[in-house]
C-alpha cells in the first residue's frame, strides 16, 4: 500500500560506518572548539528561533531560520545591548477533508531575547527576510568600534 510506504521510507542511509565516523568527528570538533573559545557553540538557549550571531568591524549580524513566515508576523525590537524577536508562525489549515501522514512542521508563538556582546546604534538597525531566513544587521555604536591610532 502506498501511504504506508510513504510514511516509512525516509532515506536514512543506514550502515555507512565511514560517514558516521565523519559525523562523529565533526561533532567532537564542534565540542572542543566551543570549550576553547568559551562560546556556547554546541548548545543552544532552548528558545525558538535558534540564532546565529556574527560580527565584523562595523556590525553585528543576527540570523534566524523562520521558514514560511511573513514579515508582518515578525516583530523585532532592539535596545542598546539586546535584541528581541517575537512573532507567531501560522500554518494555514488545509481543508477539512485532508488526512495527515506526517506532521512535523510546527505552528505557534515565539519570543526571544538575545543579549548582544556590545552596544549598538539602535536607529540604524535593519532587518531583511529572504527565503525564510531573517537577517538583522546591527551597526555597532561608535564607541565600540576599534580606533586605528596613527604613529607620527
Amino acid at each position: 500500500m502506498f501511504p504506508k510506504r510513504f510514511i516509512d521510507f525516509p532515506d536514512w542511509n543506514v550502515g555507512n560506518p565511514f560517514l558516521d565516523f565523519e559525523r562523529m568527528r565533526r561533532e567532537m570538533n564542534r565540542l572542543s572548539e566551543g570549550f576553547r573559545s568559551g562560546l556556547p557553540s554546541f548548545s543552544n538557549a532552548g528558545v525558538f528561533p535558534l540564532t546565529n550571531v556574527s560580527e565584523d568591524i562595523n556590525n553585528y549580524y543576527v540570523r534566524a531560520e523562520l521558514p514560511g513566515m511573513n514579515t508582518e508576523d515578525i516583530e523585532i525590537s532592539a535596545t542598546d545591548s539586546s535584541l528581541s524577536i517575537s512573532g507567531q508562525r501560522i500554518i494555514p489549515r488545509e481543508g477539512d477533508n485532508v488526512r495527515y501522514h506526517r506532521r512535523e512542521r510546527e505552528a505557534g508563538k515565539f519570543s526571544r531575547m538575545i543579549s548582544l556582546p556590545g552596544s549598538v546604534d539602535t536607529d540604524k538597525v535593519e532587518a531583511s527576510f529572504m527565503d525564510g531566513i531573517l537577517t538583522i544587521v546591527l551597526p555597532k555604536s561608535e564607541a565600540m568600534k576599534p580606533k586605528q591610532i596613527e604613529v607620527k
Binding site: 502506498f2 501511504p3 510506504r5 510513504f6 521510507f9 525516509p10 532515506d11 536514512w12 542511509n13 560517514l19 558516521d20 559525523r23 565533526r26 562560546l39 556556547p40 557553540s41 543552544n44 538557549a45 532552548g46 525558538f48 528561533p49 535558534l50 540564532t51 546565529n52 550571531v53 556574527s54 560580527e55 565584523d56 556590525n59 553585528y60 549580524y61 540570523r63 531560520e65 523562520l66 521558514p67 514560511g68 513566515m69 511573513n70 507567531q88 508562525r89 500554518i91 488545509e94 477533508n97 485532508v98 488526512r99 495527515y100 501522514h101 506526517r102 506532521r103 512535523e104 512542521r105 510546527e106 505552528a107 505557534g108 508563538k109 515565539f110 556582546p117 527565503d131 525564510g132 531566513i133
Partner: protein, 131 residues
C-alpha cells in the same frame, strides 16, 4: 494549537548518497504530508533555499528533493546555535501518482509539492446493494 509556543528543534542531520555529496552536513527538512481525494501534498521547511536552488526529481519511483543553501555568513561567528547545510530528502512513490501532473512551488523557504493521484487510485464510494 496555534496558541502554544514553538519548541526548539535541532535540525536532523543525514548522510546524502554518494552522487549528491557536497561538502558539509546535510539535513532532512521537517515535512507535512497529507492527502485528500485527488492529491497527495508534501510541504517541506527548507529555510535558505531559493526557488532556483532546488532540485526535485522523480526517478525509479522515488521523489528526491535536494535544496542547496548558501553557506556564506557575514563576519566571524560570536554564537552559533544552528548549522547550515543543504537539505536532502527521499521518498518512495508508487504508481498511483500521476507523475506528469506534479507541481511544485517555493515561498519563503517552504516547498510545496502537489502530487496528483492517478484515476485508478482515487477512492471510490462503494454502494451496497441490497437484494
Amino acid at each position: 494549537m496555534e496558541d502554544r509556543d514553538i519548541q526548539v528543534k535541532e535540525k536532523k542531520e543525514v548522510d546524502a548518497q554518494g552522487e549528491l555529496t557536497r561538502e558539509g552536513p546535510f539535513f532532512v527538512p521537517n515535512v507535512d504530508i497529507f492527502e485528500d481525494d485527488d492529491n497527495i501534498v508534501l510541504i517541506a521547511d527548507m529555510p535558505g533555499v531559493g526557488k532556483d536552488n532546488i532540485d526535485i526529481r522523480i526517478e525509479d519511483g522515488h521523489l528526491r528533493i535536494l535544496g542547496k543553501v548558501s553557506k556564506e555568513a557575514p563576519g566571524d561567528y560570536v554564537l552559533s546555535e544552528y548549522s547550515i547545510g543543504d537539505y536532502h530528502s527521499n521518498f518512495v512513490l508508487s504508481t498511483i501518482i500521476d507523475q506528469t501532473g506534479v507541481q511544485a512551488s517555493m515561498k519563503n523557504g517552504v516547498l510545496r509539492i502537489v502530487l496528483p493521484k492517478s484515476d485508478k487510485s482515487k477512492p471510490r464510494k462503494i454502494a451496497i446493494k441490497s437484494n
